[in-house]
């Protein structure tokens, strides 16, 4: 097994004249909970999409689980779980049907699917509502269901792209607790978030990305100490400025 679960080496992604990711390099160890932070449009989701094989880097090298994502994408797909930024769940299916659909797409056997389904729905507080159509769910419930879909096949490497957006504090805390459990099980997690408290609380290390460049990479407490501020949010503001950014 490769020493690192995730490796990016000098990765560049251009969309026409726009450079979304500009020479980003970092490595994530197995079992690490890594936070990728940055303002809107900084290049976080583009980076995650390249790690999942959804986007091809313009240049550079990306590997996940020791496999070259571009050349061995089929192998990568089997052991990554992705909770995308969009609340991508089928509204016309029930929660249970959504979960079973994805379990079948990963070709889980019936017993494994049943156990994983029941456990995940319970952990994320969706058991009671599992039989209802998703269109009736609140935004927070849909986000939690999206996490269940990402984890149904028990992936070793998990990409969570802003998983707690739109959740109430209780739900967010429950997801945090669950992420800690996953880490305890030895899962590797790459988390993108705008909630600095979330990153500071959960992540072993964080990388701050801005205008497509990685501008900081360290453990949250080291970054706080290095910049002489009180918390990660102040580090973030100090490094990225106060100007409001919009997604392009």
């Amino acid at each position: 097994m490769d020493k690192f679960a995730i490796v990016l080496e000098n990765v560049v992604k251009r969309f026409g004249d726009v450079v979304a990711v500009n020479g980003v390099s970092f490595k994530v160890a197995w079992g690490e909970l890594f936070g990728l932070l940055g303002p809107n449009g900084a290049g976080k989701t583009t980076t995650v999409n390249m790690l999942c094989g959804l986007l091809k880097p313009t240049s550079g090298f990306v590997s996940v689980g020791g496999y070259d994502v571009q050349r061995e994408n089929a192998k990568v797909k089997g052991f990554i779980g992705v909770c995308p930024q969009e609340t991508a769940v089928y509204p016309y299916l029930t929660g249970l049907e959504n979960v079973e659909l994805f379990g079948n797409l990963y070709a889980l056997d019936k017993e494994t699917l049943r156990k994983r389904r029941d456990m995940l729905l319970e952990k994320l507080g969706l058991t009671q509502e599992a039989g209802r159509k998703v269109e009736k769910y609140s935004g927070g419930m849909k986000r939690r269901l999206s996490i269940v879909l990402a984890l149904i096949h028990n992936p070793q490497i998990i990409f969570l792209d802003e998983p707690t957006v739109g959740m109430d504090p209780q739900s967010r805390r429950a997801v945090w607790e669950f992420m800690r459990e996953l880490k305890g099980e030895g899962k590797t997690i790459l988390l993108t978030t705008h909630y600095m408290e979330e990153a500071e609380t959960l992540c072993d290390r964080v990388g701050i990305i801005d205008y497509g460049r990685l501008i900081a990479l360290d453990a949250p407490k080291n970054l706080i100490s290095k910049h002489g501020v009180r918390n990660l949010e102040e580090v973030f503001i100090k490094l990225t400025g106060r100007r409001i950014r919009e997604e392009t």
Binding site: V82, E86, A88, L93, E97, L101, L105, A107
Partner: protein
């Protein structure tokens, strides 16, 4: 191919179909295309008079010297009938059952004899030798059954220079008793089977654009499902929907009195044709989804494919101008409706050349359209 994945996605697609009342109409493009297509279809663009193809079997014992030749010329001179001579009744009936001609006129052996007897004593009906011209009509064409008999009657009356009865030569419409049993609805029914499936174009286009909009396509791409499995699941689910549509339309038509006297194989072939036809609708849906940025736009753009298929190739097509009928030969639905009409109304055999020709055209065109749709969509959005 993992059939569990295919089955899971196909089931999902079916659940969506039955749970979402999602048909929205484009408010600008729809009327424009509707008016244009309607204009071409019913406006008589090209202005030509309708012509009916009539097969003639001349059994007149007087041969080429007989008066029957003059009668045939008189029919052709009307400009309303395009006359084609057949050697025997069997060949002519075969052409009729395949929709190649719209009527068969059988000139009897005693035709000249009858006319000669009439000319010898025009005012003495008692001395006439009576003869009967048999007329077989295309039971699949409401227009042929209504238009051809009076034309023949008028030609004969003019030929005899006799407008009022009695007449030495009568026209007996052999299939008229049967033809009259068909209501307008029954004439339209074959097109209705085709009609229902055409709206799959909109469903497919909406489904693919919606999945793209809400991130589901991206999410599916992250799973181990292969592009072939994904496309297969979609095609199978829409074929199943087309089958359900066909069954429901047929059941409704049956309730309304549409009960064609055909065997099991004719029904089987009809359903197979509709299933194959649904492939082209999936293909057109994918093409629509490729060029549409949103599901709303997909709804409107889908009518660019729906309306020509609808007006040029289904039951509406039975009353089209000759120009529109020619254009109709470029849409797959035309051949489906033609084959179904031949099967159900004309009583054509499933192995008759017309059916085989229609089946071949439908199969080739539908697979080609599906392939184009898949290639375009995959190229733009990486299934």
């Amino acid at each position: 191919m993992n059939f569990r994945r295919i089955n899971a996605l196909a089931k999902k697609e079916l659940k969506k179909t039955f749970r979402e009342p999602a048909i929205l109409f484009m408010i600008i493009l729809f009327p424009i295309v509707f008016v244009l297509t309607f204009g071409v279809s019913f406006g008589g663009l090209g202005g030509s008079q309708p012509t009916y193809h009539v097969g003639v079997v001349n059994m007149d014992s007087a041969g080429s010297e007989g008066l029957s030749q003059a009668f045939i010329e008189a029919m052709a001179n009307t400009k309303l009938l395009h006359v084609q001579i057949y050697a025997d009744n069997h060949t002519a009936q075969d052409a009729l059952s395949q929709g190649k001609i719209q009527a068969v006129v059988i000139i009897p052996a005693d035709f000249s004899q009858s006319l000669n007897s009439y000319h010898a004593a025009p005012n003495n009906p008692g001395s006439w030798i009576n003869a009967t011209v048999m007329l077989y009509l295309d039971k699949g064409s409401i227009f042929a059954t209504q238009a051809v008999p009076p034309i023949i009657q008028n030609v004969l009356a003019a030929f005899l220079s006799r407008k009022a009865a009695p007449s030495p030569v009568n026209v007996e419409i052999s299939s008229l008793i049967e033809a009259r049993r068909f209501s307008t609805f029954e004439f339209m029914a074959p097109g209705m089977f085709t009609f229902a499936s055409i709206f799959l174009i909109m469903m497919v286009a909406q489904s693919f654009t919606q999945d793209r909009e809400n991130g589901m396509l991206k999410r599916i791409r992250i799973t181990p499902i292969t592009p072939a499995e994904f496309i297969t699941s979609q095609v199978l689910s829409y074929m199943f929907i087309a089958l359900i549509q066909a069954v429901l339309v047929f059941a409704a038509a049956y309730l309304m009195g549409f009960r064609p006297a055909v065997n099991f194989y004719a029904y089987l072939l009809a359903f197979i044709l509709i299933l194959i036809f649904s492939l082209s609708n999936v293909g057109f849906g994918l093409i629509t989804a490729t060029v549409s940025k949103t599901s709303g736009a997909a709804t409107g753009i889908s009518f660019l494919f729906i309306l020509p298929q609808l007006f040029l190739g289904t039951f509406v097509g039975s009353s089209l101008s000759s120009t529109a009928q020619t254009v109709g030969r470029f849409v797959p639905s035309y051949y489906v409706t033609d084959a179904l009409t031949s099967l159900f109304l004309r009583g054509a055999s499933i192995t008759s050349p017309t059916i085989i020709f229609d089946f071949g055209i439908v199969t080739l065109s539908c697979f080609a359209i599906l392939a184009i749709g898949i290639i375009l969509y995959a190229k733009c959005f990486k299934i």
